[in-house]
Symmetry: C2
Subunit: 188 residues, 2 copies
């Protein structure tokens, strides 16, 4: 029913984008204010504990989006390969084709951990669990499934770093292309 995003929800989206662009420490209230179009005091109205609350809200929103775009497609209908391909599409969307960074990376740097304790670990573990599940479903022994899931998460995070460093989204795109093989096995 409520089709119209509340101002707070819009603000959270913009805040998440800013944290994912700048990292926790460089995302000053001035930048967050500019990103949202709200004055600092308006931000404190929505987020009484300031930057810390904003980081928590951004982290929670990122978790929601990852669940929707990346994890839930894995337990939907369709063949295993089709589901993993849906996940690849979801990853491309969530990471803006490789141009947006991951909070598992950014929120394990600098002072972010005190604002969002355990968030990055929880996000990483959720991905590992979901990926290991499909790998097992594909017939991989439990241990191999875990190894494949770990490699998939490593490749996602690594591809985002390399893409950022080189200024080209191709490494991220190539990683997505091999994701089904990494998770399910098959043609090397």
């Amino acid at each position: 029913m409520p089709q119209i995003k509340s101002s707070r929800e819009e603000a959270v989206e913009a805040i998440m984008r800013e944290f994912r662009n700048s990292g926790y420490d460089a995302a000053s209230l001035a930048r967050l204010s500019a990103a949202t179009g709200l004055g600092k005091s308006s931000l404190y109205h929505y987020f009484p504990n300031g930057k810390e609350d904003m980081a928590k809200a951004a982290g929670a929103r990122a978790v929601e989006l990852v669940m929707e775009a990346v994890i839930e497609p894995l337990s939907g209908a369709g063949s295993l390969k089709a589901r993993v391909q849906k996940t690849a599409v979801g990853l491309s969307k969530f990471y803006n084709g490789g141009k947006a960074s991951c909070l598992v990376d950014l929120f394990t740097i600098g002072d972010a951990e005190t604002a969002t304790p355990g968030l990055a670990k929880a996000m990483a573990e959720a991905l590992l669990r979901a990926f290991a599940g499909v790998a097992e479903e594909a017939g991989q022994p439990k241990k191999d499934a875990k190894a494949r899931a770990e490699r998939a998460v490593i490749e996602i995070e690594g591809a985002l770093v390399v893409t950022r460093a080189l200024g080209s989204t191709h490494p991220f795109q190539r990683m997505l292309a091999r994701l089904p093989t990494v998770l399910l096995g098959g043609k090397a």
Copy 2:
């Protein structure tokens, strides 16, 4: 043969450690002062342009260490596999078994790029070139060699992120174990 490190060289090592622990933006002059044991004014004596110069010096030192520990072993003596294993040892040392982060990651976040423009890209490209070289030497076609090199750099960067997020060095260690296969091919 100056065996004794100059105070400046010691300072650069400590500064590099601090940047690799905190990232560029969270590494305040206060923290850099504590890390080096030097007062702020002493830091400005060695680095007249302040934090920017410190980041440049830390970046240059990191490049030196990567050349020594990771890249040079690849063109040394011994079998291909032995050389890649030397590189794996070098990676483990440089990244402190996975506990130290990579500036290719940290210096592409926040305000670091204005201090060390192009550094992360240059580091990533140096690794890509060196890795593609050994993959070619192992008989991989040029295109495959490039793909393998890219995957190796992605896995290194990604393993460091995952290791940081989970608080366990095992992902990094497992990545090192499969590095020879990633680069040279062979037993899947």
